[in-house]
Point group: C2
Chain length 116, copies 2
């Protein structure tokens, strides 16, 4: 699903329970013009900046990394991590690229549990 399409679906869903989730109100809360948000939701504009996407994620109670991915972006803190040790993390990611989720999760878990 596209970014705009997803956004509209999610916002409409929340709006059914709470009229606060109108285009205008949400636009107000994230600090952009209503017409701009409207266009984004209908894919007449490309996804907004990382900052605005993060604000949207917060308001719509969505995961920021997920929403940024839909927007075709990668969180700048992740980019920063990679840039700090590019060869190391590049190798790691290319290695894990096609591994099933559970295998990757195992790495996360083992590292977190300090088995190193």
């Amino acid at each position: 699903m596209e970014f705009g399409e997803y956004l509209r679906k999610r916002r409409e869903e929340l709006k059914r329970e709470d009229p606060q989730f109108s285009v205008r109100r949400v636009a107000g809360r994230i600090g952009v013009e209503p017409s701009y948000l409207s266009k984004i939701e209908r894919s007449l504009q490309p996804p907004p900046s990382e900052q605005t996407t993060r604000a949207l994620a917060e308001v719509l109670d969505e995961d920021a990394d997920f929403l940024l991915a839909l927007a075709g972006k990668v969180s700048s803190d992740l980019a920063e991590i990679i840039r700090s040790r590019p060869r190391l993390f590049a190798d790691l990611l290319r290695q894990l690229k096609d591994m099933p989720d559970h295998a990757v999760l195992r790495v996360v878990r083992e590292v977190r549990d300090g088995e190193w």
Copy 2:
């Protein structure tokens, strides 16, 4: 060290052994104007596009991921990997962010050697 500074150092180093590595010749090989490359090397221009940075890496026999990192960028194939499973890889990277190289390398090695 900055991108431009590094570039110049590396090119000059190669030039000492081979006059092919003049600003003009290198610019020609990577497909940009000499004055543009000159300005980049003196940090009068920001680092070039990913494509041009890759071409530079090839000509200067440098690691592309390393050079892209110096340029403040992340390889688009890595961004693509993250975007394919954003929450998974975001967790992974934030978890490994402060781990020493050898710990991460151990993961890379074990995955490569098929112990999964």
